[in-house]
Symmetry: C2
Amino acid sequence: MDVSSLDPDRFRISPGDAPGLADRPTRADDLLGPDDEDAKATAEALNEELSERIGDLQERLWATKAAKVLVVLQGMDTSGKDSTTRRVFGAGSPLGIAVKGFGRPTEEELAHGYLWRVHRHTPADGEIVIFNRSHYEDVLVVRVDDLVPEGRWRRRYGHIVDFERMLADEGTIILKFMLHISHDEQRERLQERIDNPKKHWKFEHHDLRVRESWGEYMAAYEDAITRTSTEHAPWYVVPSDQKWFRDLVVGRVVVDALERLEMPWPDPEPGIEGLVVE
Amino acid sequence: MDVSSLDPDRFRISPGDAPGLADRPTRADDLLGPDDEDAKATAEALNEELSERIGDLQERLWATKAAKVLVVLQGMDTSGKDSTTRRVFGAGSPLGIAVKGFGRPTEEELAHGYLWRVHRHTPADGEIVIFNRSHYEDVLVVRVDDLVPEGRWRRRYGHIVDFERMLADEGTIILKFMLHISHDEQRERLQERIDNPKKHWKFEHHDLRVRESWGEYMAAYEDAITRTSTEHAPWYVVPSDQKWFRDLVVGRVVVDALERLEMPWPDPEPGIEGLVVE
């Protein structure tokens, strides 16, 4: 595979397929051959083009209201959810792009069903909303930490498929990305947060406890992706040990989806031609 | 049938059954025999008891957080949605009961999927929320007035069943009431709004246009109820030409559902016994 002709669909999980996370590459090298500087430089140039393209497409989306767009970013700590948002969507206008992070639920949120807090932040016509973590935490951390009984979280796979189908039927394009990093890469990134004073603020002791449950999280992701990757809301498992490759895959998926909308600029108001402002 | 031994389940629509609205009684007389004063007086005494009982059960629900309760009221203009709320739920505490009316959607609401605006108002643990109109308008007025293409509103029956199942799985008791009045009864009530200056504020010319589509609305209700009455979120079609009978049916359904929760008062904090406040 050549980085400039990358087919982003090869990272999409077909409905019913298991992603096989344990054997799935987290690095471009496994796909491209040796990790040469050329691939990285080529990808970085492509990423700049993609970023501009997304800026333009987002403006057209906002102008035409051609669809609602929901981007879900999931991944282990340090997998790059924040950085993907900045780097891939950074050229978009804040008017039509919103990022919503879902942390530990509040008491009020817990008192409602788990889809309550996410539904209210889903996009309107013309908007792109990026979920940094999402309703998937309710079948991930909730499962690993045993926060509700198994029968209850298992039923959620079905709810989520139904919920996302309803959003899609009502005009939402849903793109879900699992930023897939290796256990080793996470060790390095966490160590960097500990060693580099400028990154201290990102580190929490809690992250180490979560890391101890790595295997259980992978099992939870494996099931969640298998059960909820659908035609109307596909999962993409993105090799994310290298930012340049991760950005390339996410950027390409987003651009392809937006370009499929075919959004010519709306016609101007009638009578605008020759109008002189006095 | 005797009014004091009324079985509210006879008004419930079993999953898959059609309500047969055209032939379904809107008056108690059709069920009780002649509409004698005794039945009315008996029902009114029962309704006072039911109202107090609901006040007590609602307080227990709030204290125990035993469930979330969603009551959906639907019906043609003048069918008594407001009056049912006041008369059946009037004894509850505003702390744990909320009424949410859904009128013509705002531009912001229209820009989202139709379940967006209702989901955010669904109840939390311990709350009773009464929807005065609801997401069902999106398969009723939307169908009759042809506001979205048929393929789109038809898919909504499935969305609604799925949405309500998710709410139920997450701890919501859902009770849906169609307040069934006759075409004649509506004529009298609308005329009263026109003739009685104190009721002028309730009248809108638009109501007469909706009345012209009575048959289409009945067809839309017939399909909606057939497709969405489920074990987890049943529809009750309530004969509503007489308020005393309507209140009796709704009150009994609500009391039965809340009593099934078995909500003993929570234990006091340990060490409260013998405690002297100084």
